[in-house]
Amino acid sequence: MITALDWSGRRSRRQAPSSPGSELASLGESDWVKAAQRGDRKAMDHLVRAHQDRVYGFLYRMSNNRDLALDLTQETFLKAFKALGGFKPDAAMGPWLLAIARNCFLDHTRRSAPELKSGQGDAFEDDGAGAEDPELLRLASDTGIMDALQHVPSPLREALVLRHIEDLSYEQIAEALEAPLGTVKTWLHRGRTSLRNLLEKGGGA
């Protein structure tokens, strides 16, 4: 069993994921980080398993594209492990990973902005396959909010995703977005207003 993530949010909808190799389950995240810094392969796996859902979820909500989110999640962890030597083991790894994930996303956006235009994400694709699949039906119902979200400008969108989908605290968002608390609060206020206006216009199209 992987130890609980060290970034408790305002609400607690998340279950700690399970993991094989539980002989070191009593270790804290800093112990895993130190082991990974020494090049311990099992520790690297553990850290990936502990944070992959949060990183992937953030990137998926930002990009609205599962394949791209997977690519960027892979890129995020690779960059993180390459830079792990400079990370303080006692710091929270989650916000640090999200900061890397955000930079990966922004880099990708700059490289290929047209791919991320609204309506091209896979939540909007309907090839007729699996029409009875509850998961796909649920995704279809999420289309309106996801469409609108894609039109909320950065960094307001990141703030909204981290606060209202990923349940991060202000402090954690500030760390992930590398911004002061007051700025985060302003981004959230403006982001909510922007999202509301887009929804009233019909998804921002």
Partner: protein, 143 residues
Amino acid sequence: MTCQSARQLIQDSLDGTLPPADQNALQLHLASCATCMQDQTSLSAAVSALEALPRVTAPPELLSRLSPDLDALARPQPRKRRAAWAWAPGGAIAAGLLIALSLTRLQPAVSPPPDQLAMEPPTSAEILEWLDASADPAEILPF
């Protein structure tokens, strides 16, 4: 309360950071201001829609895709040293053997003299010789 102040309090309320006293003041304002009430309702609906989005989980292929890169970054780990207590049983056996060996080495102090220990059993000829030399031949009985 002005509408501008109310809009700020509405945002704080959505953040969950609005003190109860301000919450009461906001409710009083909303009860008398249709514009702010509409603002509060629509913002709450947007936030609720966001929070209703399900959590997504990373696909299982993520780890397998990362695996080659992580293998390249990994370094051989030193073998784990045995904890001190793990050597205790072996140490106890070794100590016992040492004690037993020491006692064996000390044994000559309470044993018969070395010349007796080294004495070979007499041969038949030697026995006959001793008998011939020490005994009265008359006492020797025939078999």
